[in-house]
């Protein structure tokens, strides 16, 4: 017992002394090239940043994590699709763009990206269909209102008069010191429409007036549509359009130098008898009040009275105003455009003396640009073009090449059909081209105008696979 106790005490002392030894634990941080990205605003931004700098695997992992956290976020699926596009897996790109569209079905950027992917897959007809869908959606959103109010223009134009009444100009008020000049709003508040023909007059029926105000300076036409309540009036009585109907607001009218604008009212519809009572009316009208330009407060006066002051020019930028005429100077322009030069020396051929190394300029750090995810570059080193007019030849060949270890292979259709396959390569890519040509059993030709390596898959490549498709 005593021995056991001593042993226990001894081991305890040893352990305590070991713990109290003066050893500093040093943890060496592992260098992380993406460390700066961790603080740039969430995992989505981090994943996009990783994709932008080419860390596709890390980006994909981040997007997958986000997918588990936010399964309803279309941006996540778009990010995954962009990653697969970088890998040349356009089949998975298509799948993920479709998943993104399930959560944002009318997103034109997603639809455009899907169309590009379909082009890469050789499905040009469906790509055109998607692009047509984008155009249709854009047209719908551009003019949704006027289309509903349009009535067929019929009949001979008849003379009528239209007078626009504007509110009286307010007295010029004393303007306190303001940062920028302002333009007073000029609003066409109401319009009187006089009909020359009594055939227009129809009592107690709703009246639809669609007019266009033409501004002489900008040559623009502003649509004006009004549906009036049933009115009872005669040809002699002018019809007063409400303010909402002819509310052509200040920004446009402020450009009008002349004192008159023209209003064309081609569609006047009196209820059910549309066709018989449609007229075209065009009249010059006078603006009773010119555009009132309020006195401008010049920065000089303000600066003299207050001295230098701070002014927020945007959410991110604050300017210190010290002189009357501000001069903005770009930070990028003020920087040296070249960093210290780094020489890249290529091994010279044996029969040529080594030349002086050509200096290669590095980009300044400020030139790093964040490419939006959906528009990220998709350049692939190897491009397979189907020149055999055989379905999915390029896609199948790409699968075969990927199975053999090739990566970053994009596909497409060649403009013209070929009998024999051919590898075209840019100078400096001969080693890749030679390996490809050996595997595809075709010739390789160096072409200066080609970027990277382009493989034209001819009918001979299609015939090698002919037996597979036959039942």
């Amino acid at each position: 017992m005593t021995t056991g106790g001593k042993l226990l005490l001894l081991s305890g002392c040893l352990a305590a002394s070991g713990c109290t030894a003066d050893q500093t634990v040093q943890i060496r941080p592992i260098s992380d090239p993406n460390g700066k990205l961790h603080y740039s605003g969430g995992l989505l931004a981090e994943a996009r940043g990783q994709l932008a700098i080419g860390a596709v695997g890390l980006a994909l992992e981040s997007f997958r994590t986000l997918q588990r956290q936010q399964p309803d976020n279309s941006d996540v699926y778009a990010g995954i699709a962009a990653c697969y596009a970088q890998m040349g897996r356009f089949d998975l790109t298509r799948t993920n763009y479709e998943l993104a569209l399930a959560y944002a079905p009318n997103d034109p950027a997603l639809l455009q990206a899907l169309a590009s992917t379909l082009d890469s897959l050789g499905e040009t007809e469906q790509a055109a269909q998607v692009r047509e869908e984008v155009r249709t959606a854009a047209a719908k959103t551009a003019q949704p209102q006027l289309a509903e109010a349009q009535v067929t223009r019929l009949g001979v134009p008849r003379a009528t008069t239209m007078t626009v009444k504007l509110p009286d100009a307010p007295p010029p008020a004393k303007i306190a010191a303001a940062a920028e000049p302002r333009i007073a709003p000029a609003v066409l508040s109401s319009a009187e429409v006089s009909f020359a023909s009594s055939s227009l007059v129809s009592a107690n029926k709703p009246l639809l007036v669609a007019a266009e105000v033409t501004l002489p300076v900008a040559e623009t036409r502003t649509p004006v549509v009004a549906l009036l309540a049933p009115v009872s009036h005669t040809a002699a009585q002018p019809l007063l359009l409400p303010a909402a109907a002819v509310d052509v607001t200040a920004p446009r009218l402020s450009e009008v130098a002349q004192r008159s604008v023209s209003i064309e009212a081609p569609f006047i519809d009196t209820g059910s008898e549309v066709v018989a009572k449609t007229v075209v009316a065009k009249a010059e009208l006078a603006l009773r009040r010119d555009v009132a330009r309020l006195p401008e407060v010049t920065p000089d006066r303000d600066l003299n009275s207050r001295g230098p002051y701070l002014e927020r020019t945007s959410l991110r930028e604050v300017a210190l105003i010290t002189v009357a005429t501000p001069k903005k100077q770009s930070k990028l322009e003020s920087r040296p455009t070249q960093l210290p030069q780094v020489a890249v020396i290529d091994a010279p051929p044996a029969d040529r003396p080594p030349a002086a190394p050509a200096p290669r300029t590095l980009l300044a750090a400020s030139d790093v640009r964040w490419v939006p995810l959906r528009y990220a570059s998709r350049t692939q080193p190897i491009q397979l073009l189907n020149a055999a007019r055989t379905d999915h030849l390029a896609a199948r060949t790409r699968v075969a090449l990927i199975d053999r270890g090739w990566r970053k292979v994009s596909i497409g259709n060649a403009r013209a059909a070929r009998q024999h396959s051919l590898v075209l390569y840019s100078p400096g890519r001969w080693h890749v081209a030679a390996r490809l040509a050996a595997q595809l059993r075709c010739k390789a030709v160096r072409v200066a105008s080609v970027k990277n390596v382009v493989v034209l898959l001819g009918r001979d490549a299609a015939l090698r696979r002919g037996a597979i498709s036959r039942a």
Binding site: E98, Q126, V130, T390, Q419, R459, R464, G466, R470
Partner: protein, 269 residues
């Protein structure tokens, strides 16, 4: 205190995205099916179900989705349910008929497709499918009539032409089938099936055996020889059939079991 904390937590919870309208989701999914974006359609259908959508539109969406994804057994079951409430709906009848044919239920397919085509608004697909069903039953008159109606409704589609040609091949009328295949290939040069059928008909009608094309692989040539042998056998040209099967075995770089089996089967006749 606990109640206050719970209240604070409830207040500070960020609201999730507003659930989309089930009607919009169903409409979007139907559009996605129409333009062949089936992944999108599947997710939108699941979201519609999750938002509590049910009823005829949802059932139709699920049936259409199963049909588009070529899950014909499921599609047939769903269309049968829909047809109980709308027995004369031509879309349901057409899809049910095609799904029944794809699952090998020829009689049911003929029944649905006949009902679909009896109405005035039947599509060329319904007539085309009815022709295929008639081929499967050996009802050549109905097949000819159906393909003719399909071609009349859709003169720019190659499928009725190709199917009519194959129907003639089934009857042994190779020479009559040739122009149908040629027209089908002219309309859709990318269709491998139409091209193969045209090759087969040409091989059957030629006096010799198909030669090797420039750059053609041994496997492909052997397959064409085997096809030519089958065509010759169908026409009763025993000598040419034997020659074709034998040459297919010779030129094939690997053991060509199909040609060997054909040769053995034909020699035993």
């Amino acid at each position: 205190m606990i109640a206050l904390q719970l209240l604070a937590a409830a207040v500070t919870v960020v609201p999730g995205p507003a659930p989309n309208n089930a009607h919009d989701l169903i409409a979007g999914a139907e559009h996605a099916i129409k333009v062949n974006r089936l992944e999108q359609a599947g997710v939108m259908a699941a979201r519609a179900l999750g938002s509590g959508a049910s009823g005829r539109d949802m059932d139709r969406l699920l049936a259409d989705l199963a049909f588009a994804k070529e899950r014909y057994a499921e599609a047939l079951a769903r269309y049968r349910v829909l047809l109980k409430s709308e027995p004369a709906n031509p879309d349901f009848l057409e899809h049910a008929g095609i799904a029944a044919m794809k699952t090998g239920q020829t009689d049911g397919a003929s029944r649905y497709l006949s009902a679909a085509t009896s109405s005035g608004g039947a599509t060329w697909r319904a007539w085309n499918a009815l022709g295929v069903a008639a081929d499967l039953k050996g009802d050549w008159d109905e097949a000819d009539n159906s393909y003719a109606r399909a071609m009349q409704l859709a003169p720019s589609e190659f499928e009725p032409l190709n199917n009519h040609g194959w129907s003639l091949v089934l009857r042994g009328k190779w020479r009559s089938a040739l122009p149908f295949f040629e027209q089908a290939v002219a309309l859709e040069p990318k269709s491998a099936r139409a091209r193969d059928n045209l090759d087969l008909a040409k091989a059957a009608l030629s006096s010799g055996l198909p030669g090797r094309r420039p750059g053609e692989t041994e496997t492909s040539w052997a397959a064409r020889l085997n096809d030519a042998g089958l065509a010759a056998a169908a026409l009763g040209d025993k000598v040419r059939a034997n020659a074709a099967f034998t040459q297919a075995l010779e030129v094939s770089g690997t053991w060509y079991a199909r040609a060997a089996n054909n040769l053995k089967a034909y020699a035993n006749r």
